[in-house]
C-alpha cells in the first residue's frame, strides 16, 4: 500500500510545528507497512489533481498567507477536482481560513478564498489563544481531541447553516469564533481546524482517522491495526486533560 501526500506551501505555511502533523502521519503509516511519499508543492508549481491521496496545509503569518492566497486561487479548482475524486485534506489555522469563502482583515480588506469550506472569517480584536479540547463524533475512540489554538480570525458558517458540519464541539477553549461552541469544519473528506500543538501529536485516534480517509478512496475500507507504543500519546493526552479541563472550562 502507498500513501501519496501533497504538502502545500511547506516553506510559507509552517507556523506552530505544523510539519509535525506530516511526521505523525508518515510514521503511523510506515509502522503499518504503508509506503509514504511526500511531495512539496508551492508557489507557481502545477498541482496534478489525480496524483495525491492527502493534501496538507499548515498555518502561516499574515504576510505569508497573503502571498499564498493569490497562488491558491489558481490552484483552487484543481484542489476541488482532487477532492471530488476522493482525496482527503487536512488544513490547520491559516490553511483552514484560506480554504473558506473569504477572509476579512481588520482594515476591512477582503481576500477571496478557495471556497471549499462553507465558512468565512473575519479578523477579531483579540487573539483567541490557549489550550483547547473538542469532542469529535466520528472517531473510533470516544476521547476528546486536544491541542492549542492561536488565531485572530473568527470563523463563521455561511448561511444557510445546513451545509456546515463542524469538526467538533468545544469542551474548553474558543474554536471557530469563541461564540457558537463549534470548532473546525468537515466537508467530504476535507478537515479544517484551528487546533495545532501539532494537532496530531497527542491525538492518535484522529491521526488514524485521517489515514483511513486518505486511503479509502483507492483501497476501499482500510482496517488499521493498533500500534504498540501509543501509551505515550495517551499519557500526554491524559496529563493535558487533567491539567487543563478544570482550569479552562467556563
Amino acid at each position: 500500500m502507498r500513501l501519496r501526500i501533497c504538502h502545500l506551501y511547506p516553506e510559507l505555511l509552517n507556523l506552530y510545528g505544523d510539519r509535525g502533523n506530516l511526521l505523525v502521519l508518515q510514521r503511523r503509516a510506515e509502522w503499518r507497512g504503508i509506503a509514504v511519499e511526500i511531495n512539496r508543492i508551492s508557489l507557481g508549481d502545477t498541482l496534478a489533481p489525480d496524483k495525491y491521496d492527502l493534501f496538507f496545509l499548515g498555518g502561516g503569518s499574515d504576510e505569508d498567507q497573503g502571498i499564498v492566497a493569490r497562488d491558491l486561487l489558481i490552484k483552487g479548482p484543481y484542489l476541488q477536482e482532487a477532492l471530488a475524486r476522493g482525496a482527503a485534506l487536512l488544513a490547520i489555522c491559516g490553511g483552514y481560513q484560506l480554504l473558506g469563502r473569504y477572509y476579512q482583515t481588520r482594515t476591512n480588506e477582503v481576500f477571496e478564498g478557495v471556497g471549499l469550506f462553507p465558512v468565512f472569517t473575519i479578523a477579531g480584536d483579540k487573539r483567541l489563544k490557549g489550550n483547547i479540547a473538542i469532542e469529535v463524533e466520528v472517531l473510533s475512540t470516544p476521547l476528546p481531541v486536544v491541542g492549542f489554538e492561536n488565531h485572530i480570525g473568527k470563523t463563521y458558517p455561511e448561511r444557510p447553516r445546513e451545509g456546515f458540519r463542524p469538526l467538533g464541539r468545544i469542551l474548553f477553549g474558543y474554536g471557530n469564533n469563541g461564540e457558537d461552541g463549534t470548532e473546525g469544519c468537515v466537508y467530504g473528506r476535507a478537515i479544517g481546524t484551528y487546533l495545532h500543538g501539532p494537532l496530531l501529536a497527542k491525538n492518535p485516534h484522529l491521526a488514524d482517522y485521517i489515514l483511513t480517509l486518505a486511503l479509502e478512496a483507492r483501497y476501499g475500507k482500510v482496517e488499521l491495526r493498533p500500534l504498540p507504543g501509543d501509551e505515550i500519546e495517551w499519557k500526554a493526552h491524559e496529563a493535558f486533560l487533567r491539567r487543563f479541563s478544570k482550569e479552562r472550562r467556563r
Binding site: 509552517n14 506552530y16 510545528g17 504576510e63 501529536a201 507504543g229 505515550i232 500526554a236
Partner: protein, 478 residues
Amino acid sequence: MKALKTLRQLDLMAFFRFKIALYLGCLAGLVCRLLGREGTSLPGWIALRLYPNLLRDLARSIDKVIIITGTNGKTTTANLLARILKERAGFEVVHNKEGANMPAGVAAALMASVFRACGASKRVAVLEVDEGSLGYILKQIPANLIVVTNILRDQLDRYHELEQTLNYIRQSLAFAPQAELLLNADDPLVASLGGSLSERFVYYFGLERTPYIRLDGGDVQEGHICPGCRGLLVFAYYHYSHLGHYTCPRCGWGRPFPHFRVKDLQKRERGYNFTFVYPGGEEEIFTSLPGLYNCYNILAALAAGWVSGVNPKEAAELVAAFKPGRGRAETFRLKGKRFTLLLVKNPTGLSEALRAVIETRPGVYLLAINDLAADGRDVSWLWDVDWEPLVGYPGKRIICSGLRAWDMAVCLRYQGIDLSLVKIVPQQAKSLKEALKEEADEILILCTYTNLSLYRRLLIRMGGQSEVKDLSPLPRTA
C-alpha cells in the same frame, strides 16, 4: 550619590514621589532577599507603580545608554559588552545582568545603581531589553546605541509572528531617532531595519562564509521574504535558521556588507577561533563558548565596544576568559558528575545547542520542558526543533521532565528516537535523582525558562557546586 543630585532638577513634589518610589521599591527588594526569595524585578515593579516616569528620571543620571534587543543572545552579548566597557573603557556600568529584561527588571537595575554610584567615572547603561518592552523603554530612556541581535521564531503565543515582531521593533526605533544602530547583516529581517532609516548612523555585523554553512535552510524558514518588494529571497548559504547570505533577485536588495565581520572561523575542541575584522584592523579571537550563536554574540559585543571607543585588541583577552552568566551554560559538580544547565526557549536555540554539544558531550540529556507564561504556553515549537544531532547519535540516554514531559516524549518518538532509552519523569527533583543513577558523568540539562531557576535551586540544595563564582540570584518569573 551624584545620581540623586542630578535629579534635584525635578520639581520638589515630583522629586519627593520619585524618592519614595525608589526607597519603597528597594525596601521591598531587601525584604524579598531576607525571606530568601530572588526579587530581581520586584523593586522595579513596585517603584514603577508608585512613579510611572521612574525610568525617564533614573536615566538622567546616565551618560550613555546601550540597548540590546532581539530574540536570542541578548544576555550573553550584554554580559560580555558590560565586562568590556567596565574593564577596558573605565566606565561605571549599570547592567540588568540577570536577564530581567522587561521594564520592571530594567528599573530594578537602574535603581540599584543609584545607590552604588560613586560619581567619579562616566556611567554607561548596558540594558538587554525584551522585544515586547522596547517601545516603552525607548520612550523613557534616550538610547545612544541599539543592538539588534536577530529575530527568530520565539514564543509565538506571546509575540505572534515574526513580521509583527519586526514591525514592532521598527515602530519602537522611531522613538529613538538619535540612536545609532548596530544590526545583524545576516538576518534579513534585522538588516531591513537599517534601510528605511537613512537619517542615522547604521552599522552592520555578520559572519563570512565558514566551513559549517548549510546550503539548504530545511523545512522551517522565516525571513525569506524581501522586506522591500515582497519577492522571495535567494540564499547562497545559511549559517543557521534564516541567518546567512541572501539577495533578492527581484529588486536587488541583499545582505548589507558588514562593518564588523567574523573571518576564518574554525571549530576547536571547546569553542572557536576566528578573526574579528573591524574598520581599520583585525584581531585574532578565541572563545571557549560553544555554538555558532555565541560567535554572533561575541561579534556583536566587540562591535558595540568598538562603537563605544574600545580597541578590540584590548578586548580579545576578555573574550577568551569570558564565561557565560548564571544558567547560560553554567556547570555544577555533584556526586562526581558534571551537570550543565542550558536555557532553551525556541527552536533555533535548542537546535543550535544540540548541534554544538552533541559531538563533545557524551552521556545524559535531560530535557526539562515547562509551559508557564514565561516559557510560552504553546509547546508546539518542540516540533520545529532540528533533532537530527540526537537522532544521529543513537545510544544517548534521555530523560524528559517538566509539566510537558509527556509531550516531549511523544515528539521524540516520532523523530525516530528509541523510547526504551528515554525515561519520563515529570517531577523535576525526581528527574535529577534519575540522572544521578546513570553511568555517564556528563549530564546536560536543556531547560525552558521557569525550569532554569528551579533546576539551579535543586542542584544547589542537593549539594551541587557551581563553577560560576558570582552567586547573585536568577530572575524570578511569574
